[in-house]
Amino acid sequence: MSFLLKAGLVYTGTREIENGWVHVRHGVIIEVGSGPAPEAGEIVDEPNCVATPGLVNAHDHMYQWATRGYVADGTLFEWLRALYPVWARIDADSVRVAARAAMARLLLCGCTLSTDHHYVFPHGRPGLFEALVESARELGLRFHPCRGSMSLGDSRGGLPPDSVDDRAPSRSAAGFDVPRGGRAVLAVLRLA
């Protein structure tokens, strides 16, 4: 079944098409035009809107949605030193709740593709990376999750306390051999 989006103005990124439309099949754009529109199984008409490419978020830490408003007037290092001990308390449940909030807000503001850089993996708390991937799938966001890590705790001259140091970094990424698509997700879910 094909899908047709009509808008008062379609901005493709290079062209501006008044009373334009975008015709979609199987998740891919098959036609862009103006005037008489092709037939489609589902039609959405937005005459009072500008249709643009979905917005892309190239940097985020979604778990932080649960720690907003801390250190309102601090530098990065002051802010980090105050927040590391709070972040050391996160678990899969708090990451899931925070990710759902971050993703909902992104989608509601027109973002369709987002990364997330998750680098706090407190010892003995499984399921954090899975929570991110599952949340994106549930909410319908195209998602590039970054498996982060920290290995330079304060005892080794780094900024973060040793309690959030993760000496077995990116291990979750080591096991997958398909870099994209569902099989990669399954592999990460198994190994994260």
């Binding site: 937005e46 940097h59 680098y119 994106a136 698509g181």
Partner: protein
């Protein structure tokens, strides 16, 4: 719909060995690499004192340049480093709201673009932004670039919107996203321009970055509507708000 990235946190929280091993791991599996670079002068001082290298020099030494890498921030880059970032095709995710919130500095976006670098936008974590609106970031990027350059031509509205779309897709290695062209992923956002904040603005594309961020009326991901009439179809927004309030209170202890 999902691609994994290898991303040790930053030069001041990750050992050089781990940075090097992570790059090797990512390249063995053909996935991308991401980290924070040149966000603050404190980071620059840390790298000079601990490693005797400026942050980008350190990244070069550790194998962390190339077209499969993108950095967050890239604020404190000198002229030669800007040329180098462009030359090696490494992306920069510019996060203006977070950078202003933390007083980190102003990314040299127009210089990076002039050099041919790939630049996208990021909201950064909500603890240093308190929001997640990429259209706001496009608006902020335009204003901040003009303040930094003391010039109203530093970044125009269409260039700012390009950062928010195609520029970000380039950082993430997605040549199938970021524009509305035949053969691309059907990821589309429809912004209302008939409300009080936008009605009457002649150039509606410029309005997207110049005027207040517009309400996303319909949002399509992979050919499927996830937002209609400005409401999320895939989850209950009010329930999410209640849950995040409870979780925030629990973490605050």
């Amino acid at each position: 719909m999902c691609r994994v990235v290898v991303a040790p946190c930053s030069p001041f929280s990750v050992s050089p060995e781990l940075m090097r091993d992570s790059a090797a791991l990512a390249r063995r599996h053909g996935v991308r690499l991401h980290t924070h670079v040149a966000e603050t002068l404190d980071e620059e001082r840390f790298c000079l004192e601990k490693f005797g290298r400026r942050p980008l020099e350190l990244m070069e030494d550790l194998g962390w340049t190339g077209d499969d890498v993108w950095y967050a921030h890239g604020i404190h880059l000198n002229d030669a480093e800007i040329d180098r970032v462009a030359e090696v095709r490494t992306g920069i995710a510019h996060c203006p709201s977070s950078n202003m919130r933390l007083g980190a500095g102003a990314c040299r976006v127009e210089d990076l673009l002039r050099a041919g670098a790939r630049v996208g936008l990021g909201v950064d974590g909500a603890a240093s932004n308190e929001d997640a609106n990429i259209a706001t970031e496009a608006h902020q990027a335009l204003l901040l670039a003009r303040v930094r350059a003391t010039s109203p031509t530093a970044l125009d509205a269409r260039a700012a919107w390009r950062l928010a779309t195609q520029g970000g897709a380039e950082c993430l290695g997605r040549d199938d996203c970021g524009t509305l062209e035949v053969g691309k992923c059907a990821d589309i956002a429809c912004f209302r321009v008939d409300d009080l904040a936008h009605a009457g603005i002649k150039d509606l594309v410029a309005a997207l970055a110049l005027a207040p961020p517009a309400r996303a009326q319909t949002v399509i991901v992979n050919g499927r509507a996830v937002v209609r009439d400005g409401r999320l179809l895939t989850a209950d927004e009010d329930e999410i708000a209640r849950e995040i309030a409870a979780t925030s209170a629990r973490l605050a202890g």
